[in-house]
């Protein structure tokens, strides 16, 4: 095809019918639809990112975040939203543009003219695979680090082969039973209660079990959840950071009155907690 005389060098330059990358890129971005899609994508991206805060806002309607873990996981929601926003935005803007931008045809007969026969585009394919892999990789790494952090906070201090940490922690035995929760405080002379009362800023460690079917112990505003299984003890932990009364619900269908299997957690000051323990007949701790 080339009508150009090759330069007179020893090794003749390969004739090419592709434009130089910079030219092609420039030309590409001068196409009207590319520009419009990009503008649309930027707007949608802003919207998606804003949605992250909406999500967290709804999570916070009843007083969350009330613990270290809840803060952490809300942050994850935001980060994940921001990280995936560009790809979501591109996807949505292309489908919107396909609906509104490129030409249409309607009617009962198949359209007379076909669209351009684009079979593939190596640059797009490679860029897309790279972008999605990067995104997935980031999510995995972030998630793993975060999981390691919250589980070391939650589980680290009592596993048998670890030194107890210096922070004073409270053990609580949680028992699920169709359809009530009960709590026992082994460190406080085994006092029991059907609402959970705990001091603020003190790590809690739960040993949870069930006497009948599977329940799921969920302290909503503190962002902890653990299945409560018959014949096994499961553990989790959290540090409440906010005073107040929060919800405990059962999050696993457990029969007839599953919907009513809820109670409260009161996060109080250390002094109030000690007073409560005394009232219940336990001795003052620490």
């Amino acid at each position: 095809m080339s009508i150009i005389t090759p330069p007179e060098t020893d090794q003749p330059e390969e004739p090419t019918n592709r434009a130089m990358p910079t030219h092609r890129l420039k030309e590409y971005f001068s196409r009207p639809y590319v520009r419009r899609i990009l503008i649309m994508a930027v707007i949608i991206m802003a919207g998606v990112i804003a949605l992250g805060w909406v999500v967290v806002g709804f999570m916070n309607t009843t007083g969350a975040p009330a613990s270290d873990i809840m803060v952490e996981l809300e942050q994850t929601v935001l980060i994940f939203t921001i990280a995936s926003a560009p790809l979501i935005a591109i996807t949505l803007s292309i489908i919107f543009y396909s609906l509104t931008g490129w030409k249409h045809s309607s009617g009962d007969e198949p359209p007379m003219q076909d669209s351009p026969a684009i079979r593939t585009n190596p640059v797009a394919v490679i860029a897309w695979i790279a972008a999605t892999s990067l995104l997935a990789g980031f999510l995995v790494v972030w998630g793993l680090i975060e999981l390691a952090t919250i589980t070391s906070n939650a589980y680290g201090s009592t596993s048998a082969n670890q030194q107890p940490t210096d922070v004073k922690q409270i053990d609580i035995n949680v028992t699920g039973q169709q359809w009530v929760w009960s709590f026992e405080y082994p460190d406080q002379q085994g006092i029991t209660s059907d609402t959970l009362v705990v001091p603020v800023n003190t790590p809690l460690y739960f040993n949870a079990t069930s006497v009948d079917v599977i329940h799921d112990f969920w302290i909503v505003e503190l962002g902890v959840k653990i299945d409560v299984n018959p014949g096994a003890i499961t553990n989790t932990g959290v540090t409440p950071t906010k005073l107040g009364t929060f919800n405990i619900r059962c999050a696993e269908l457990c029969g007839l009155h599953h919907a009513y299997m809820e109670t409260k957690i009161e996060v109080v000051t250390q002094e109030q907690f000690d007073a409560w323990v005394r009232d219940k007949g336990g001795m003052k701790t620490a």
Binding site: H23, I88, S115, G143, W218, T234
Partner: protein, 651 residues
């Protein structure tokens, strides 16, 4: 796809067994009615004999009646066996065993030759009949599931008190769940996989026509035990029927277990059949780079079903054994493990969601090419995407069990695999976007559904990414957020995708065009209601509403009201869509053979499709995506290239 119809291939003569009597023999007398009679009689006999034999009074650890459970299970299996015998399912093997194997004429009789409409009520082997039977069955099942969904939403919208007894409420959520899961598993592969796929690959029928009839009628036989449970205490444990709660439910659970055990046989048989057909019966010239992508989707889905359905079947077989012979697979009091159940269940139940979504996705990719008049973008990437989904889907099931209380380290690998699966899913997104890129859309109903489906998938995908993170799931697991997530995937992508496919293939399958206007109204009303219902359900979940509850904190009232209103809107939309299907199907004018101007083989044969699909078997000479005109921008590139080359010239 270019088709040459001039060549005829010699087929070697096969030695035929001798014909005894009229073609069909015994099968001339069987139909669904003899099936019902056989089922009822055998069930009644079993019940009567069984009630004399069972050890009444024996209780299992949860005090349910072991004897009664055993009796119910035996009766239900007897119904299934009696029904299958009555409809003539065993005629083939029995005649083979007696040395009177079916002849060619018998086989033609079984395929429904010259039997008019009554062939739809018989054990007919023609894949087009089976596909139509599946289609009607799916519509009925979706109707039942949808009705139960309305009851659920009515209860949840009625925030002032309990409308239903909690036991009844629990059993309708369980029944709704499993009915919908079953119908979505078959909604694409049943009607379209059976009816369209063999024609699409240029075959005369499925590879194993009799197994095809078997798979449908097994499913048919499995449904009455399921619905009977509503009158026997119900499935009160959600569709996932976690143990040991399920053991407490007793009798009601037996129906669920029978359903799953039989349904697993049905899907196993169907999967083998679909895979074999697609792999071995393709037309001449249809090599693996020319197979329509819908066929690839059917294969992918069938492979997952074939491999993983047995897990579900075992899980329910063990559960049944706990109920009827007092074993203790899942009873921790007697040394069983509830985690064994959860693992077996999710080993299927995760891949199963892809069994649902993959064929619908492949279907919409197929029809995008037709309505955009463009080739599929990067066919190879699409194949890689499906292959990746099939592969990784096997190793992510534990993301449903993040909160079961295993050592936290167990979560790491499954979080990794779950997040990696979005890469092959991403391939499919790019294929869709690339196919849309600069295409002129022909805005017909099937194509408009495609836009809706992609939107739903995006929402389902983002929320899935939140859920796949263990710490975030610590908040969201077991809440309404999860329910909204999977409805976006299963209903938003699976069911709406199936609606796209059905309205696209309707002219071939039912012989008439689907009424565009009524169908579109129905679809868009349902879509709008769907967004309302499930977006507000996301909100309820984020505010902390657990799933499967019938009463809740006042904080969730508003979102539940909106959800319920949305659900009624979906109901209205779906009824309109159903009306469009029924009235169009009864229409008088036949659709043209190829109303969409598509290039795949099923559109090249006449409508209605003749008994063996093609008068002469087609030969394929190119892939089915030869749409398109030269790209005008290529000319610009050429111009630029000229400039460049001039620049490169010295001086």
């Amino acid at each position: 796809m270019s088709v040459m119809t001039t060549q005829v291939f010699e087929q070697p003569a096969v030695i035929q067994p001798k014909q005894h009597g009229k073609p069909g023999g015994f099968l001339r007398h069987t139909s669904i009615f003899t099936g019902l009679a056989g089922g009822i009689v055998l069930a009644a006999i079993t019940y009567m004999i069984g009630s004399k034999l069972v050890p009444w009074g024996t209780q299992n650890a949860d005090f349910s009646q072991v004897g009664l459970n055993a009796l119910i299970a035996a009766t239900m299996f007897a119904w299934v066996i009696g029904f299958m015998a009555g409809i003539g399912a065993f005629a083939g093997p029995i005649r083979w065993a007696l040395g009177h194997d079916l002849t060619h004429d018998d086989a033609e009789y079984m395929a429904g030759k010259d039997q008019g409409k009554f062939r739809y009520w018989k054990y007919t082997t023609d894949h087009k009949v089976v596909g139509t039977q599946y289609f009607v069955m799916v519509l009925v099942l979706l109707g039942v599931g949808g009705f139960l969904a309305m009851l659920i939403r009515t209860e949840l919208g009625w925030t002032w008190g309990e409308l239903f007894d909690p036991d009844f409420y629990n059993s309708i959520i369980g029944t709704h769940g499993i009915v919908m899961v079953v119908s979505l598993i078959i909604v694409v592969t049943g009607p379209l996989g059976n009816f369209i796929m063999p024609i699409m690959v240029g075959a005369r029928d499925m590879a194993f026509p009799r197994l095809n009839a078997l798979s449908f009628w097994l499913l048919f036989a499995a449904v009455p035990p399921l619905l009977a449970t509503l009158f026997m205490g119900g499935i009160r444990d959600g569709w996932s029927v976690y143990q040991p709660l399920a053991t407490q439910a007793g009798m009601g659970m037996v129906g669920y277990q029978v359903l799953i055990i039989v349904f697993a046989f049905s899907t196993g048989v169907a999967s083998v059949n679909l895979i074999t057909t697609a792999v071995t019966m393709r037309a001449r010239g249809m090599n693996w780079s020319r197979v329509p992508i819908f066929v690839i989707g059917i294969i992918a889905s069938s492979v997952m079903g074939l491999i993983w359905f047995p897990m579900y079947q075992y899980s329910q077989a063990f559960a049944m054994s706990d109920l009827v012979v007092n074993s203790s697979f899942y009873n921790p009091v007697a040394g069983g493990s509830v985690w064994l159940y959860e693992n077996l269940f999710w080993l299927l139940a995760h891949p199963e969601v892809y069994v649902i979504v993959v064929p619908a996705t492949a279907g919409i990719l197929e029809l995008m090419t037709v309505f955009l008049r463009k080739p599929l973008f990067s066919y190879k990437l699409a194949i890689a995407g499906f292959a990746g989904v099939v592969g990784i889907s096997a190793i992510v099931w534990v993301h449903h069990m993040y909160m079961t209380g295993f050592a936290p380290q167990v979560g790491y690998p499954f979080m990794l695999s779950t997040e990696l699966i979005s890469i092959p899913f991403g391939f499919l997104v790019l294929v869709a976007l690339g196919t849309m890129w600069r295409g002129k859309v022909w805005t017909r109903l099937p194509m408009m559904c495609v836009y809706a489906v992609i939107w739903d998938k995006v929402i389902g995908g983002i929320t899935g990414v939140y859920l796949s993170d263990v710490p975030v799931d610590q908040y969201m697991h077991g809440s309404m957020f999860v329910v909204a997530h999977f409805h976006f995937m299963l209903m938003g992508a699976g069911l709406f995708g199936a609606m796209a496919c059905i309205s696209y293939w309707f002219p071939k399958m039912c012989g008439r065009m689907l009424n565009e206007r009524i169908g579109s109204i129905g679809f868009w009303v349902a879509f709008f209601g769907f967004q309302l219902t499930f977006f507000s359900m996301f909100i309820a979940g984020l505010q902390g509403m657990p799933r499967r509850v019938l009463q809740f904190d006042n904080a969730f009232n508003v979102s539940n009201w909106v959800s319920t209103i949305g659900a009624y809107i979906i109901g209205i939309g779906m009824l309109i869509f159903l009306y469009a299907i029924i009235t169009s199907w009864r229409g008088k004018t036949w659709a043209p053979a190829n109303p969409w101007g598509a290039k795949t083989l099923e559109w090249q044969t006449s409508t209605p499709v003749p008994l063996e699909n093609f008068p002469v078997l087609p030969v394929v000479t190119s892939d089915p995506y030869g749409y398109g005109v030269p790209d005008p921008y290529d000319a610009i590139e050429q111009e630029l290239a000229k400039d460049d080359n001039e620049l490169k010239v010295p001086q």
